[in-house]
Amino acid sequence: MTKYLLRRLLHGLVSVIAVVAIVMLMIYSFLDKETIFSGDGQLAKLQDNALTVYKYRQWEKYGYLDYVPYTDYLASLVKSGEIDSAKRDEAAKIGRTEDKDSETVAEYVAKFRESYTKKGYTVVRLDASVFKGKLLTGGAQQLFAYKNIPVLSRLWTYVTGIFEFDNIHYATGDVGKRGISFTFFDPAYGGKKFSPAIIGNGTKHKYLLYFDNKFPFIHQNLIKIHLGSSYSVNRDVDVFDTMTNAQGTLLKENTVYPTSLTEYSSDDLHTLTYSEGSLENGGEFAQARFTDDYTITTARRDGKSKIGYSFTIGIISVIMAYLLGVPLGVLMAKNKDKFFDKLGTIYIVFIIAVPSLAYIFLFKTIGGKMGLPTTFDVTAETALMYVLPIVSLALPSIAGLMKWMRRYMIDQSNADYVKFARSGGLSEGEIFRNHIMKNAAIPIVHGIPGSVLGSLVGAIITERVYVVPGAGNLLTKAINSFDNGVIVGVTLFYAVLSVVSIILGDILMSMVDPRISFSTKAR
């Protein structure tokens, strides 16, 4: 069993990586690079060479290519000690055209050209645009090298960068004794309240493991997941953080800073991260609060994260769907061809055939008439706001469950073992409960992990219609704004969830049905 599962997991991992590779190929190789500028207001302000350079810079940011300006090359030479800064300044003054270069410049330009061509880069030199001896706007001469990143190396850097393990050698400056300590009394609560925590020194995060009053109560900063940073959807923030960070208004609490200064503030001390020299540069403000270079905090907010909203709505609707859909399907099978069955069939046909957008709006209108809130407001959350999104999500899945439960129940009731049980003298109720139900439930059980994990993903239409700040719209938003980092990150997240839920479904099914065994291949 374990061996089988390991193989399945490995298989799943390979297909997840393949999915990411396909998506990367699609967005980085097939898509026209120019499309990312379609909504860029900056573009109209730039002209000539400056525009070209701006485009290459943007492409580097979006991850299309590696862009190295000549000045960066010279700076790297200074760093390696090959030339001094005076020489650099001299070499940096490239002429308006190539033949106007001074000797030193020509020497280093040639070196630059040679070393980057060798590495597979394309070196571009843009001559200055001059009109009557005067430089035009944005027409300054430019010299840079660029190289398209091949899919495989992009994939490799991405996959190897997904997990980041915090370690005590992270901090670059002098932090004193590096190490990890354990305390029963978390200093973030003033050091008096009992709350175990693991605190690192020299690590990126100060708090590596801690407890607080938010679900799931125990939190860690030891392993950080990077799904790729966002460019336009949520600038410079990692996709995983975009999905998991709390939203809403700032939540202020009495906070005890390391200098034992107490202030009514929204700083979440558990998110303290290291930044070299931040205590000194932060001036009086930082020195009044912090005692070391761990000064960067994230603000506490009162709302849930994107995934939090999606999951709350999703999980309740999943529970509702199973609690209602399964019994209703059973009832339909029991009353086959009678009134209830026909009523149920009409409902199922309605949900299957009518475009989902249409019935979600229908529910919204009906709900609105009944006085329920039809839009979601993060700043003034009430339980009633959850009702309509949950109902809109649950009703279609109820129809799906009804349809399949009815089908399986009817199929099973024609099986030989049912006739045998009947001939053995069992009552219809007993046959239904103990024989048919158990067998009919097996394929239904297989879908449970999928629907539970699926609620993490969120629902695109429902969230859009009811303005829920959930995770469902992240992908469409990213696609619309060409945010490649987010697209890849979200795809990876979806793929992992789907692979895991199929494996979990199989495990659950083998637990419910002892006849299914994964230890031997095909009996």
Binding site: V354, P355, S356, I460, Y494
Partner: protein, 325 residues
């Protein structure tokens, strides 16, 4: 056994009455006693036995006329009244007063003074055509590949991997990337919806084939030396007809639904399809007096989808030979 013999004397008849001579009738022996059976005739007999199907078929015919023939005569031009004063966002009664009492204005006018009713059927034409073309392509490719997938164990291994990988690429992403590369035209949309759309159908057919493939009668057939091709065509395909028709019945409405969904999230066609109409009229839904602009395309897409679905389902039921008895 002896006591079961019948005593002829019970009948109180003479021997002549009991035993009379009959000539051999050559013509009689040529007659086949089993009733004539034609598959498609039986399909239609079963289909039309339900009175609701006649009604639905009539409704379908009505919808087809409005979808394909009405736009030929309506002379719809979206920007016909764009410069006309007071032509925008009219309720049906206002529109009739402004433009005269005819069929074009029974649903009022939209945001550029266009007739909602005409726009509706123009959009329906695009959406329904898209759904039919996509369903035809996906079903053909899906059924053929699904059959091969189900039959060959080697192909099964490869295809299952392909399914696991391609099935995980978000559909929304795939479609939008294709639309971005190829422009949001009708045929690029068809391409986007079919490039991986057949996979799910092929997988479904594969599962069905696997179930029937190893039935005893097929094993026997194979033992007797029937070629795989003939088994597929003669032994398995008839079994699959009803499954395929049922599948088709769910596929066509699902493409209509999908087109509406894609347009709503802003990734759909450039043409004014039903989905695009719904998307464009979203703001009208919350504006009093203009709701009809939103609900009309929603209702039409729902009606078309439901009728196609129910007709298809009932045809699927009728095409199952087990219901012909």
């Amino acid at each position: 056994m002896e006591n079961e013999l019948i005593d002829l004397k019970e009948f109180n008849m003479s021997d002549e009455e009991l035993f009379s001579h009959f000539d051999i009738n050559q013509y009689e022996s040529e007659k086949i006693t089993a009733p004539r059976y034609s598959y498609w005739k039986s399909v239609f007999r079963v289909f039309f036995k339900k009175k609701i199907n006649v009604f639905l078929l009539a409704l379908l015919g009505f919808l087809v006329i409005f979808t394909y023939i009405y736009p030929l005569f309506s002379g719809y031009d979206e920007f016909e009244h764009v410069m006309t004063q007071g032509a925008k966002h009219l309720t049906p009664s206002e529109a009739m007063k402004t433009f005269g009492y005819n069929i074009h204005w029974i649903l009022g006018s939209g945001d550029v003074g266009q007739s909602t009713f005409d726009a509706l059927w123009n959009g329906a034409k695009i959406s329904v055509t898209l759904a039919f073309i996509c369903a035809a392509i996906n079903m053909t490719i899906g059924v053929i590949i699904g059959a091969i997938w189900g039959f060959s164990k080697k192909v099964d291994m490869i295809m299952t991997e392909v399914y696991n990988i391609l099935g995980n690429v978000p559909y929304v992403l795939l479609i939008s990337v294709i639309v971005m590369i190829m422009s949001a035209s009708f045929w690029s949309m068809v391409f986007a919806l079919t490039v991986t759309g057949w996979l799910a159908i092929a997988y479904f057919i594969r599962t069905q084939v696997v179930i029937i493939r190893d039935r005893e009668y097929n094993l026997a057939s194979r033992c007797l030396g029937t070629s795989i091709f003939k088994i597929a065509l003669r032994n398995i395909l008839p079994f699959m007809t009803s499954v395929i028709v049922t599948l088709l019945a769910t596929e066509i409405p699902s493409y209509i639904s999908y087109e509406v969904f894609l347009s709503y999230i802003g990734m759909g066609l450039a043409d004014m399809s039903l989905g695009k109409l719904i998307y464009a009229a979203e703001s009208a839904m919350v504006t009093p007096g203009r709701q009809i602009e939103f609900w009309a395309p929603v209702a039409i897409s729902a009606i078309i989808a439901v009728v196609l679905y129910v007709v298809g389902q009932n045809l699927g039921d009728a095409s199952d030979p087990r219901t012909h008895m």
